[in-house]
Subunit: 225 residues, 2 copies
Amino acid sequence: MSRRSGILEFAVLGLLRESPMHGYELRKRLNTSLGVFRAFSYGTLYPCLKALVANGWLTEETGSEPETAPASLTGRRAKIVYRLTPEGKSHFEELLAHSGPDAWEDEHFGVRFAFFGQTSRDVRMRVLEGRRSRLEERLEKMRTSLARSRERLDDYTLELQRHGMESVEREVRWLNELIESERAGRDQRAVDPAERNQKDTSGDTGGLPRRRGGSRPDSSDDTTT
Amino acid sequence: MSRRSGILEFAVLGLLRESPMHGYELRKRLNTSLGVFRAFSYGTLYPCLKALVANGWLTEETGSEPETAPASLTGRRAKIVYRLTPEGKSHFEELLAHSGPDAWEDEHFGVRFAFFGQTSRDVRMRVLEGRRSRLEERLEKMRTSLARSRERLDDYTLELQRHGMESVEREVRWLNELIESERAGRDQRAVDPAERNQKDTSGDTGGLPRRRGGSRPDSSDDTTT
DNA sequence: TTCGTCATGTAATGGGTTACATGATTAC
DNA sequence: GTAATCATGTAACCCATTACATGACGAA
């Protein structure tokens, strides 16, 4: 059961592959590490976790001593730590390899990209190129529709259109760079992130431009939610 | 009745203010002129139109001769042309002036911007500045969360983050330009778009950079590498 | 002791899509 | 004459949010 919407499921499995976590933390990770794009609420996340457990892809581990507490007195609402099962792991790997045409859509693409470190180069290439051609289609549509109605539109609408197109063009250029450096880099197979910390960080992860430094990270303050 | 989701309602009223239209055409306009962002389906649009009629903001006009056709024989499924009523018009103007804090959110902002030609400069300023500060907040959050987890993340996630931030920074710069030129331009009151075609097109619409030139990537700035 | 954050959950609701059903008009 | 596109609509479903309910833990 549960055609539980791919994207969240995918992201959860991917994050849990790195290390076990409880729901609350998971959600924060979704909204930061990946979450430039999407902010999921508890009302979405918790039911999804239950479903994944029901599918055998996760196990729940309550942090409290095993059944010592009567659960009725001072019930000690335990942290529930979710851990990926082997089935879950292989299911995630299937999803990773799949790369169907949904994978080039806006939100999907972002999440896919976030887990690129765990994919093989040919999958990365397929996703990047798929995304690029999707954007090029979109660009084409924008261009023609703009050409058809240029006279009819006021300056603001025109400026909006122009800015929109420019953004898409930028993303295409970005993809070009990425594709280029994937092509140049040596093939790098999927890496199990659970073992990543032990290994050296110096290794090439596949051929990223390694530009680093776009905007200053100032290490000072913390966020108020 | 009908807390019919603001954004579509707003866009429909705005488009119909320019000229009466039937649903099908309306939808196309939504997905081109405004629709760089959102693609609404008929399943959304038609019920919405009905609701707007029920509210007295639109009238339906079936194109066929007034009741001459029996409607049973060759029923001639007529085009239904929707026209803004005076009540609808004033309701739209209320919405335009309102500019609550929803107006700076991603999709909302785009639609608001598309109708800037029909607003006064101070409303435009409020929306632009609201949008900008919303983006700056977001940027701040991204920066700190990135700073907190930079070491933990692999190169792809990092690159994704970087690209995301760069996009937001770009939009902020765009807004800065717009705000600047609004400030410089003379005040321009709302223009009834129904009368726009008769008037001269040469007039300043409020102070846009008037850059025009489709999708030229401007040669000046590039990444702040 | 109260406030903020951590932590888990559910029921009601909302906003939208998909798939379907129907038929007219135009272009080839 | 048939395919594509124009044109209008509905019902079933889906995904996710909101608001609510509960409660522990740490710091002021």
